[in-house]
């Protein structure tokens, strides 16, 4: 691979999944029209969902899912020890994701609800960075393949890898959408980090904050907006809680 006369080496990557739906890994095989070019950027060393080849020499580990059982902690630490760059890949890895909704309930009660009398090991859902050092977070439920492609190009060319700092509203306005607040719905676009191309409000449903908070958001002003529009604060809190990305703000609001 050659770029402007420079020889570029594909990056050695591995992909691992913990407690999750594996939808973020699946995105790696999506966007089929650019898949051959994407695959030329990476050297897949370990990716259980699509390959039976397993090697332990990788530079970048994509880690999907949150941590909810002790064997996962051990497995994650072993991956951290081998990876040069560890990426928290997707909302569950970055924030704990929907799995964190069970953290509000005593864990025995959660087990009883689903498994009756059976003993099942589980613990409150933890983010990857609660266990090991994380070098990069790629949020999204699921991650955006466009963003993953951009980040991979950055890693291969050793250039800066950044996420948008501004909120989803910016992208939503660029797509000329009608504001969901004007349609009487609470949308987390004003406080959520962009990078998804405002996919939910473009589909006329509220942003549910899967990418977590944007930088320097004005949270009190967002709450005021909900109040001014005479919308339900309980509904706002339900949305903010879904992916566990707004924990600090929820505490501050109540």
């Amino acid at each position: 691979m050659n770029h402007l006369g420079f020889e570029l080496k594909p990056v050695k990557i591995a992909s691992f999944d913990f407690t999750c739906c594996e939808g973020c890994q699946l995105q790696l095989a999506n966007k089929e029209s650019t898949l051959p070019e994407f695959l030329s950027l990476i050297d897949i060393r370990n990716f259980r969902e699509i390959s039976s080849e397993r090697h332990d020499d990788y530079d970048i580990a994509l880690v999907e899912g949150s941590i909810t059982r002790s064997d996962e902690i051990q497995r994650l630490k072993a991956i951290r020890a081998k990876a040069k760059v560890l990426v928290a890949y997707g909302t569950c890895a970055c924030f704990g994701g929907v799995n964190s909704l069970k953290n509000r309930i005593p864990q025995q009660e959660v087990v009883r609800e689903v498994y009756d009398g059976k003993v099942i090991e589980t613990m409150p859902s933890m983010r990857i960075e609660d266990i090991v050092e994380v070098d990069l977070c790629i949020p999204g439920c699921p991650v955006s393949k466009e963003e993953v492609e951009r980040i991979m190009v950055g890693l291969v060319t050793r250039s800066a890898v950044t996420l948008p700092k501004y909120p989803v509203c910016v992208e939503c306005k660029q797509r000329l959408n009608t504001c969901l607040f004007d349609l009487g719905e609470i949308c987390l676009g004003p406080v959520t980090r962009a990078g998804c191309d405002a996919v939910c409000p473009t589909g006329k449903t509220a942003c549910l904050g899967c990418r977590g908070p944007a930088e320097d958001i004005n949270f009190p002003s967002f709450v005021q907006l909900v109040k001014d529009k005479e919308l339900s604060l309980a509904n706002m809190r339900e949305k903010l809680a879904l992916y566990n990305g707004f924990g600090d703000y929820l505490d501050q609001e109540s």
Partner: protein, 426 residues
């Protein structure tokens, strides 16, 4: 004549399947001592975490049960809630939802056939070497998968975790331009499906039969997708709300997924089950594809689930083209029925790519979820996989197969079910 051999096959975290499962086969003095399919996935407790959530948001949560069949999960919850709260979605929205289901199934089948199953038949560890050895075949697979994803994106806003499927209908209809593009894309990609069918025709499907009971939906007029009666090849017929009688979940010591059964020790769901129960409702093109593989109902060879998936791709391409035409003739204005939340309870049943999926949901008078139960296709297949493994290993020993050959057959068997393991535990 069995040889007096001792060996153990221990496959921890089987590759090229969604989720975490282990195969264990133990042979002592040429006799099968044990064969186990153990699901070790971490549970996420969806039935517990959904409690208290608004009906409006609940389908967005259950979508996250599965990264491959999120449209099915969303629509199953929506169907349960709409039945519970007596909401009738408009006809146009129902057509958009059906088309979305087709997109998801096509994407899922293409992913399984090319990326997960095909490498076994070509003796490669993944699809990557096949990209070099059979570039035209992989290209065909990518074209079908891309078409599936494009159908999902046009109908639901995104191919994984849909955004515009909502209670009462859909929040946004596709544009005429998008539908016209889909129409030509479907026509352009029929040759890719032909190439795929020819290619799979050259592969050798293992011969193995263990009689079982196949469970699927059936509505009597169209190949099943959203809703219908629950039927089995043993003649059991139940209504959607009686899903518990079609599942009878139970716990095992070695698995975090539950097991199910109906009339026998185990039962099976998925493409082959749908095919076996609804052969008469397949498009003639799909029936012709089945005939080319000698696939007829009722087929009891689980390896033929791969072929049944391919047959369904033919049906989907035809039906999707018809649905796109119907939507092109529609003004696409009436897409959402307003509703008031209310107390109720009902079951939604949908044919997800891997088989019939049930969500039972109860709501209070504010529309908040008070109880939920989700029974996943792979949950219904886990017992069948477990007992199949036993029978297959026995057969392999009787045929004098080596340890390596037996292991290969075992992994191919599990992959034939296209298990969605994290989904089965949820």
């Amino acid at each position: 004549m069995t040889k007096k051999v001792d060996f153990d096959i221990d496959l921890h975290h089987l590759t090229r399947v969604e989720g975490h499962g282990n195969i264990h086969v133990s042979v002592r003095e040429g006799r099968l001592a044990e064969a186990t399919w153990a699901v070790v996935e971490t549970p996420r407790f969806f039935e517990a975490i959904i409690k208290g959530m608004s009906a409006e948001q609940a389908p967005f949560l259950t979508s996250r049960i599965c990264g491959i069949c999120s449209i099915s999960h969303t629509l199953t919850s929506i169907r349960a809630l709409e039945r519970a709260m007596e909401i009738e979605p408009p006809k146009t929205a129902r057509a958009i939802r059906l088309l979305a289901m087709h997109g998801e199934t096509l994407q899922s089948h293409a992913l399984h056939l090319f990326f997960l199953a095909a490498p076994d038949f070509l003796n490669t560890p993944s699809a990557l070497p096949i990209m070099q050895s059979h570039p035209d075949i992989v290209l065909a697979g990518l074209q079908l998968k891309e078409l599936g994803n494009e159908i999902s994106t046009v109908t639901t806003g995104r191919c994984t975790h849909p955004v515009s499927l909502v209670l009462g209908g859909v929040s946004k209809a596709p544009s005429k331009e998008q539908l016209l593009r889909l129409k030509s894309m479907i026509a352009e990609r029929l040759p890719a499906l032909e190439r795929t069918t020819e290619f799979f025709g050259t592969l050798t499907i293992p011969q193995f039969v263990r009689e079982t009971e196949f469970i699927s939906l059936r509505n009597g007029s169209t190949y099943p997708s959203i809703g219908g009666q629950l039927v089995s090849t043993d003649g059991v017929v139940r209504e959607e709300n009686d899903y518990l009688q079609m599942t009878n979940e139970y716990l095992t010591e070695f698995s975090t997924s539950k097991f199910t059964k109906v009339s026998r020790q185990s039962s099976a769901a998925g493409s082959l089950a749908r095919f076996n129960n609804n052969y008469d409702l397949l498009h003639p093109r799909a029936r012709a594809a089945a005939a080319a593989f000698g696939l007829e109902p009722v087929c009891h060879n689980p390896f033929m689930n791969n072929v049944a998936q391919l047959v369904e791709c033919h049906h989907i391409m035809e039906d999707a083209a018809m649905l796109v035409d119907r939507l092109l003739d529609d003004n696409l204005q009436e897409i959402r029925t307003p509703y008031k939340p209310k107390a109720g309870k009902a079951t939604g049943a949908v044919e997800a790519p891997r088989g019939v999926l049930y969500h039972h949901i109860e709501t209070d008078d504010e529309g908040k979820v008070t109880k939920a139960d989700c029974i996943i296709p792979t949950t219904q297949n886990n017992a069948n996989i477990h007992y199949d493994l036993h029978a297959l290993a026995e057969q392999a020993l009787q045929e004098g197969k080596t340890e390596q050959e037996t292991e290969k057959l075992c992994v191919m068997l599990v992959r034939s079910y296209d298990p969605c393991i994290s989904c089965s535990v949820h």
